[in-house]
């Protein structure tokens, strides 16, 4: 078996100095250096080669320099200790993590962060999925126009968009004026400095990512599949529920991962709409770094946010992938 394989693979011959090499050379002449005209062309070698690694070196270097190194530095920083008078001390202890994980002040902030992220993700899925579906069914001129409107917010900076929401959501803002005029509420609803306000603004910021992601999975859907279900007697809503929805689940999932990660680590929107009282993990990190100057604690919070994000996203991903196994293949 081995001998047979060696004969058909000249590249292998060169690296495998067995008796077969001799036989080959006797027959084909200077085989190792130059194949004889009759021999099959030498296939790319399966040998370990430097070339792929060399070619990906620039990418690896950029990734290492701008992602891995700062991340490692942050991780190391989070192990240092800080005192108000002594500054940062070069010690390696888990004190910051223990403090963060045992203090109910931090619990509240982390809980709020992930509650907001979860609500934003659910709202984006609930809004973005039908939006993408409707967009796909639209006619030619309207479709691109509406897609532009949906994706438009991505072209404007998050800060200006959020300041816009601050104007709209204030006690005398347009939203409250409208609600009062319609008689839906008797006094202005508090949106500013509340989780509701932060969720509304974040949904607006992040829903385009969900639309794009679901849109991509809708593109892969065979439109005849819906017709097939109709012809079998399914009502349009059954078609949506039983045929379309399960097939665009991967798109909803990847959209949700993007939205959740961005919402959990969002800074500008919670900072402006939530203000200084309603802290989330990102604004907490910022305050620790720039106001309290407790860099190690800020770093520990940042690391915890990263780890929690990864755990939640990977966990949900596994769960949904198992549920919709066939669609993901």
């Amino acid at each position: 078996m081995k001998g047979k394989m060696t004969v058909t693979s000249p590249a292998h011959v060169a690296s495998n100095k067995t008796t077969v090499v001799g036989a080959e050379q006797a027959k084909g002449g200077t085989r190792g250096a130059k194949p004889s005209p009759a021999s099959p062309p030498i296939r790319p070698s399966r040998q370990w080669s430097w070339i792929p690694y060399l070619l990906s070196l620039p990418g690896i270097a950029v990734c290492a320099a701008f992602l891995l190194v700062p991340l490692a530095a942050t991780a190391l920083l989070s192990l240092n200790s800080f005192s108000f008078y002594g500054g940062i001390a070069d010690v390696w202890k888990l004190d910051n993590y223990i403090d963060t994980l045992t203090d109910s002040y931090f619990h509240e902030i982390f809980l709020r962060t992930f509650r907001i992220a979860a609500l934003v993700t659910l709202s984006c899925a609930a809004l973005g999925t039908p939006q993408a579906y409707i967009l796909r069914r639209m006619g030619a001129p309207w479709r691109s126009l509406c897609l532009l409107i949906v994706l438009g917010p991505l072209l404007i900076s998050v800060v200006s968009r959020t300041l816009g929401w601050a104007l709209l959501l204030g006690p005398t803002g347009l939203v409250n004026q409208g609600l009062l005029a319609l008689g839906l509420v008797s006094q202005p609803v508090e949106f500013m400095y509340t989780e509701t306000g932060v969720v509304i603004a974040l949904v607006h910021v992040l829903v385009p990512f969900m639309v794009l992601s679901v849109w991509a999975s809708l593109q892969r859907l065979d439109p005849q599949v819906e017709n097939a279900a109709l012809s079998l007697g399914a009502s349009p809503t059954t078609v949506l529920r039983r045929i379309v929805f399960p097939q665009i689940m991967p798109g909803i999932l990847s959209g949700s991962i993007i939205v959740f990660a961005l919402a959990a680590s969002a800074f500008a929107t919670p900072a402006i709409i939530g203000g200084r009282r309603l802290k989330v993990a990102a604004t907490l990190t910022y305050d620790e770094f720039l106001n309290t100057l407790n860099w190690p604690l800020g770093a520990a919070v940042a690391m915890l946010l990263l780890v929690a994000n990864i755990v939640i996203i990977v966990g949900c991903n596994r769960l949904v992938e198992r549920r919709y196994k066939q669609v993901f293949e």
Partner: protein
């Protein structure tokens, strides 16, 4: 009263007319093919019957009832799509059971009917597989089983065999014909493959540019094409210009009897290469320009006063003319079709 009536069915997309005043009747239990080149409006016609497209003008009557008044999910038709359109997230059995589920068939009946349908298409072992893991031929059978299990009163098949390789296609043609015999469902088969249409159908509807060219049995359409398009689409043919005088047509210095009703004036005569023989008297005289051996047959090119003719003769040991020999070619009047000149363009 015919089972299915398509009456002046027309579909326009903006200014483009995809299907133009198509009228057709189909009998119960018949297998009829819509045959034509790509883009001639076959799929559009089928989609109008299925209800996925609304006709611009026209009427569709099935079993005495106006089909257009019913939504696609209330028409009770079986559809097999060119892309199969299987539900990728369901197993084969779930795919086939879907239509029964929508009809509220109870669990036990459903399981039995699904098993029967899968047996009919030879997939009884594959119920819990997923369609993506199956070959094109198997997916095609699943699509067929899924459409048949609901006992449709009409089965629409849109190029169901076009994605299969030649051998598989032949097998599936035989299979399809067998199933049609067994269950006797009325079927409309769309295809651009003339040999498939010939092999399977009771009647073929030859279409071009959204219009029906001829409706006839496969043999009739082949032997007596209504016009040049049909003649050429259903295989190779010789078209000879001539003049029609009442009951005969003159081609060069020969006269041939005309059986049908063809208006007098300029006309054309169509005759298949394999229907032409070398005769001693009473034919068109000409010269053999080329002869090619093709295994089971010989192909001749004969130059005559009416133009160049293609002649096919079986390789059966009989003595055949050689190149540049003077010959006379002829055919039986019943093997030719005569048409007005405008149909021969």
């Amino acid at each position: 009263m015919p089972y299915l009536i398509l009456d002046q069915l027309t579909k326009r997309f903006a200014s483009w007319t995809a299907v133009d005043a198509l009228s057709l009747t189909v009998e119960k239990g018949e297998l009829i093919s819509l045959l034509g080149p790509s883009g001639c409006g076959k799929t559009t016609t089928l989609q109008m019957i299925a209800g996925f497209l609304d006709p611009t003008v026209g009427r569709i009557v099935l079993d005495g009832q106006d089909l257009l008044a019913r939504k696609p999910n209330k028409r009770g038709l079986g559809v097999v799509f060119q892309s199969y359109a299987l539900f990728p997230h369901m197993t084969v059995a779930e795919n086939v059971a879907f239509g029964l589920e929508m009809r509220g068939t109870n669990r036990a009946d459903r399981d039995r009917m699904v098993a029967d349908a899968l047996r009919l298409v030879g997939l009884e072992q594959h119920g819990d597989r997923h369609p993506r893991r199956m070959s094109g031929g198997q997916q095609q059978r699943v699509a067929l089983a899924r459409a048949l299990v609901i006992r449709p009163n009409l089965l629409l098949l849109d190029e169901p065999l076009s994605n299969l390789d030649a051998k598989m296609r032949e097998e599936m043609q035989i299979e399809l014909r067998r199933i049609q015999r067994v269950i006797g469902t009325t079927m409309i088969l769309v295809t651009h493959d003339q040999s498939e249409a010939m092999a399977l159908s009771d009647r073929v509807v030859v279409m071009n540019k959204g219009r029906i060219q001829q409706v006839a049995s496969p043999q009739d359409a082949y032997d007596r094409p209504a016009n040049a398009f049909v003649a050429n689409f259903l295989g190779r043919t010789n078209l000879l210009p001539g003049t029609v005088y009442g009951a005969s047509i003159a081609v060069a210095d020969t006269h041939w009897p005309v059986s049908g009703e063809v208006p007098p004036g300029p006309g054309a005569l169509a005759v298949r290469p394999e229907k032409i023989g070398f005769v001693d008297v009473g034919g068109l005289s000409g010269t053999v320009m080329a002869r090619v051996f093709q295994g089971t047959q010989w192909l001749f090119e004969v130059e005559t006063a009416a133009g160049r003719l293609m002649v096919i003769r079986q390789h059966d040991g009989s003595i055949l003319p050689k190149e540049s020999e003077r010959v006379m070619v002829g055919w039986r009047p019943e093997d030719m079709a005569v048409m007005p000149a405008r149909e021969a363009a």
